[in-house]
């Protein structure tokens, strides 16, 4: 399995994770009139989940197969 394939699999995994996180029924567990850290629970849940997902995506794409783009960045500058 090439690094590219591995990255592909991880990103697809993240996609599926996102689909589960941001859909019924998981969403309904947080759809309560409760406040956490001063913000509504659902608001907190969605934005935290979203941030984590983006972080994971950033880490995944950085992890491997980034060398070409990095070297390419240098040439651009």
């Amino acid at each position: 399995m090439t690094p590219k394939d591995r990255k592909n699999k991880r990103l697809v995994g993240l996609f599926l994770l996102g689909c589960v996180l941001f859909n019924y029924p998981l969403l309904s567990l947080f759809n309560l009139k409760t406040m956490i850290f001063g913000v509504p629970l659902l608001f907190f849940y969605v934005f935290t989940g979203w941030t984590v997902l983006i972080l994971l995506a950033a880490i995944t794409t950085k992890a491997r197969g980034h060398s070409p783009s990095k070297s390419e960045d240098k040439t651009v500058r």
Partner: protein, 921 residues
């Protein structure tokens, strides 16, 4: 301070800045120092996704349905994750095939179908036009609002604003100018528009900055942070729950609205926004066409979602703040973004937000119109133009100007249509609901496109049926009801169904409940679309051209590398024809450059070339595809190519070839087996030849030895008596003759084997031949005291043949018979029989005979019958082989009948002259 003049100045000043940035971007690109070739600009250009809908509409939607605005942004986030996989494939395909729009992509995938390209274009234009109108509405609303500063107007009607007095109209014209200047610079639409992308990226920065500034101001200046704001909202919700509320159930601010269908709506919004991020024409333009480097996707797939997250984080606070500030519901929630800073008397902030809203709207309008104009030109107008008789175009030699004009006119047309739409229908709807209608429309492209790049079985007919079905359902469930709203169709249509048929109510088709109108439409249209696409694809066989394209698209990564050579064309073209075709659409200069490139790459010299091979024809088609779209390019190239393109027969031929290859390999296997068998036989022959040589040398040695010893005796005894001397020399002579005969035999054999024998064919009488043969063997026979008798027919029919050779055959047979007969008791009889067709000669002896198993072997090369009791056989074994060859040459037969111990009969038969001549006549 905020007078109309200032606002107008700032508005048009902002537009001027955009022109300057775009101009700078293009200049840098021309100088080869691109400013957009990095993943950050790429990610920012993707943010053209966030339009006025995001900027103004999200807050409005948040007021109506709490977090219900979020799936529109979470969907693209998820798709970006998956997009690394899907986008990469689409980008690769588009670069290889020089695809310039989504219509081109789908048309190209399904055999470069003009129909499909046109259909996609029509759907895109109809689906996206309201979306463009929405942007113009936002620009207009923004201006009208801020123009009345510090007063906050509660209601205004667009239809009262005269067109010529509406700044949005002029902005629209400026946008058209911008799109024309920076979007139709090159004829080749597959070339990137760097200045345009730079401007779009800049706009993305402006709108994000404006919204974040407002969000921070609202959250931390008006209120004391998130906690405070949410607490106030919760209190208000609690308060309002007891009384009547103008903004619906306020509890829903904090959660999703409690109705049963909300999760379904959420899911469906997530779904269509996932599709929209790929299939909106403007997204296709920035993601695919304007992509500089595939590697940029790497960063963009998390940078772009990060942008979406950032622009959404303050939506809910702004919404709450707006509701708190205007509790009576007099102000449209869609305008909170602008009315809040106005109400707080923050002139500069209001102006900044106004510009932010404008940047969100203009960015979208520019890219969308350019994308649509390419589609309209290449997939609607060109196919029609190219089918017109040639005189219609007035014998125009260079179409490149015409092409650009068509594109420019379509840009203006799209913008004007958008403006008209907004003036007539747009004001009845909230920003978000217009946008969602467009999402639902472009989602119709998903089955055909995604199916097209992952499933080879998808066919042209399937795609057309699917698109049509989905589009019709979309029209019925989302567009027709807007006509009701505008008063064109009676209200009954929606409330009671057409002709009173309840099942056909456009918002509750077939009685489906609990969906909002968009979700409802998405569900039915996608069901129809996918159903028809898959169903028809399975039922109806694709056409030949589709196979090639399907394989090229689905397996793009396997073919890339060498795929620039997708050989659809098998024929060649006359080079001047091809050249003039290119010149007509690309202009002289670009054609020269492109052909020089090709020559460089393939090390060709044009001066020697008269015909363009299939490779060059494909190259030319791709060049044209960039300018006029793939389907039109195919039509044009087909007009100059000599041979037919790959038809069903050719495809079948290819299949046949495959089958033949399999057959060949089977034959090869057989041939190998044959070779092994031949080799085995050769080895046998080799062994036999060795034996033969040893036999021959032995045969030669015997007479030589006797000649030599007798000669030595004569040499050493000069005084030997006369009689003995005579007898010795007699033996020497006889042995020498035998030697000569043996050597002649070997030479004859060699000659016959190598087909160098000179045959002297005459008409002869068999009787004569037998007499000659008997005469020449008399000495041999008499030596062993064997009796010989001949029974000859007096007048046998003549035969034609080589007399001497036939004598040789008989001599061989007789001397063989002599060899195997006992001396003194031997008896040889020769019989000649004949009929009209053939003459037969039998030579019978009473010798030792031949065993049945050996009878078949004795005529073969180097075969000698070994008899252990007699040791080494007498003779070389080639006499019979030579005889058989001679008889074979005369079209005769030779065989033996024998019983061991009782003698053998060698017979041969030859056709008579009449018989041999007959076939010749």
């Amino acid at each position: 301070m905020l007078e109309t003049g200032v606002i107008l100045f700032v508005s048009f000043g902002y537009m001027g800045l955009l022109f300057a940035i775009a101009h700078y971007g293009d200049k840098r690109a021309d100088a080869g120092r691109s400013i957009i070739s990095n993943p950050y600009i790429y990610a920012l250009s993707l943010a053209v996704y966030c339009t006025a809908w995001t900027f103004y509409g999200s807050v409005g939607l948040a007021v109506r349905s709490g977090l219900g605005f979020l799936p529109i942004y979470i969907g693209p986030t998820l798709m970006a994750l998956l997009g690394w996989w899907i986008w990469q494939k689409i980008i690769r395909i588009s670069k290889i095939h020089r695809i310039t729009s989504i219509a081109d992509f789908i048309a190209s995938r399904y055999g470069k179908s003009t129909t499909l390209g046109g259909l996609v274009t029509i759907i895109a234009v109809i689906g996206v036009l309201p979306y463009i109108a929405l942007q113009l509405k936002a620009i207009s609303t923004g201006f009208l609002l801020i123009n009345q500063y510090p007063e906050i107007s509660v209601s205004f009607s667009f239809s009262e604003v005269p067109v010529l007095g509406d700044p949005a109209f002029y902005i629209a014209l400026l946008l058209a100018l911008f799109a024309i200047l920076f979007g139709t610079r090159h004829l080749d639409a597959s070339e990137r528009h760097e200045g345009l992308v730079a401007a779009i990226a800049f706009e993305s920065i402006v709108k994000l900055a404006a919204f974040l500034t407002l969000g921070i101001f609202v959250t931390y200046v008006i209120h004391n942070g998130f906690g405070d704001l949410f607490q106030k909202a919760a209190d208000l919700a609690h308060l309002k729950n007891t009384g009547s509320s103008s903004h619906g159930a306020l509890g829903s601010y904090l959660t999703l609205s409690g109705q049963g269908g909300s999760y379904t709506d959420w899911g469906i919004y997530l779904f269509i926004s996932m599709l929209a991020i790929i299939f909106l024409p403007r997204q296709f333009q920035v993601t695919v066409v304007e992509n500089v480097n595939e590697e940029h996707l790497n960063k963009a797939i998390w940078l772009f979602p990060l942008y979406l997250l950032a622009i959404n984080i303050f939506v809910l606070p702004v919404a709450f703040s707006g509701v708190l500030r205007f509790p009576d519901g007099s102000v449209d929630a869609d305008t909170f973004v602008l009315t809040l800073p106005m109400a707080e008397r923050q002139q500069l902030l209001a102006l900044f937000v106004y510009i932010g809203g404008m940047s969100a709207a203009t960015g979208m309008v520019i890219v969308e119109t350019i994308a649509l104009s390419t589609m309209i030109c290449n997939n609607l107008v060109m196919p029609v133009l190219l089918r017109l008789p040639i005189e219609t175009l007035g014998g125009l030699r260079d179409y490149s100007g015409l092409l650009l004009t068509i594109r420019r006119v379509s840009i203006i047309l799209v913008l004007l249509l958008g403006y008209i739409y907004f003036h007539i229908i747009g004001e009845f709807y909230a920003l978000v609901s217009i946008g969602l209608r467009s999402f639902a429309a472009v989602a119709q492209f998903a089955p055909a496109l995604l199916g097209g790049i992952f499933w080879k079985g998808g066919t042209r007919t399937g795609a057309i049926c699917g698109l049509l079905a989905g589009f019709l359902v979309w029209t019925y469930t989302l567009v027709v009801p807007t006509l009701v709203q505008a008063g064109i169709i009676a209200q009954d249509f929606v409330t009671r169904g057409p002709f009173g048929i309840e099942l056909l109510k456009p918002f509750q088709l077939f009685g489906l409940q609990n969906f909002n109108e968009v979700s409802h439409s998405v569900f039915w249209s996608m069901l129809a679309n996918i159903g028809f696409y898959v169903g028809v694809s399975i039922l109806i066989h694709p056409r030949a051209g589709e196979y090639t394209q399907a394989a090229l698209f689905v397996d793009v990564f396997r073919y890339s590398g060498e795929t620039s050579e997708s050989h659809f064309w098998r024929g060649t073209a006359h080079l001047p024809d091809l050249k003039s075709l290119l010149v007509r659409f690309l202009g002289q200069r670009r054609t020269d450059i492109a052909l020089a490139d090709y020559a460089d790459k393939h090390k060709l010299s044009w001066s020697y070339l008269v015909t363009a091979d299939a490779d060059l024809v494909s190259y030319a088609e791709k060049l044209l595809a960039g300018a006029i779209g793939s389907s039109s390019a195919r039509v044009m190239v087909a007009s100059v190519v000599k041979e037919e393109s790959l038809g069903i027969e050719e495809v079948l031929n290819i299949l046949d070839e495959t089958r033949q290859v399999i057959a060949y390999s089977r034959e090869l296997e057989k041939a190998t087996a044959d070779l092994q068998e031949a080799n085995r036989r050769l080895q046998d022959l080799d062994r036999l030849k060795d034996e033969f040589i040893s036999t021959v040398t032995h045969e030669l040695r015997t007479p030589l030895t006797s000649v030599r010893s007798l000669a030595e005796i004569l040499h050493t005894n000069p005084d030997i008596d006369e009689d003995q001397h005579k007898s010795f020399t007699g033996i020497i002579i006889k042995e020498s003759e035998r030697l000569t005969r043996l050597i002649n035999q070997v030479l004859d054999y060699e000659k016959i084997e190598s087909a160098q024998m000179d045959w002297v064919i005459t008409s002869t009488d068999m009787t004569e031949i037998i007499k000659d043969a008997v005469a020449s063997t008399r000495q041999l026979v008499e030596d062993k005291n064997i009796s010989i008798d001949c029974k000859l027919n007096d007048h046998p029919p003549p035969i034609s043949g080589d007399r001497d050779r036939l004598v040789q055959v008989l001599v061989n047979l007789i001397s063989n018979a002599v060899k195997f007969c006992d001396a003194d008791r031997g008896k040889i009889s020769i019989r000649l029989t004949s009929n009209a067709r053939e003459v037969q000669v039998d030579v019978q002896d009473n010798g030792i005979g031949i065993k049945a198993k050996d009878q078949s072997k004795i005529f073969k090369k180097f075969q000698q019958v070994k008899d252990p009791t007699r040791g080494r056989p007498y003779g070389t074994g080639i006499g019979l082989t030579i005889s058989k060859r001679i008889i074979d040459f005369h079209h005769g037969k030779i065989w033996v009948e024998s019983q061991p111990g009782k003698g053998s009969t060698f017979s041969f038969s030859l056709p008579t002259t009449r018989e041999t001549d007959q076939p010749a006549h």
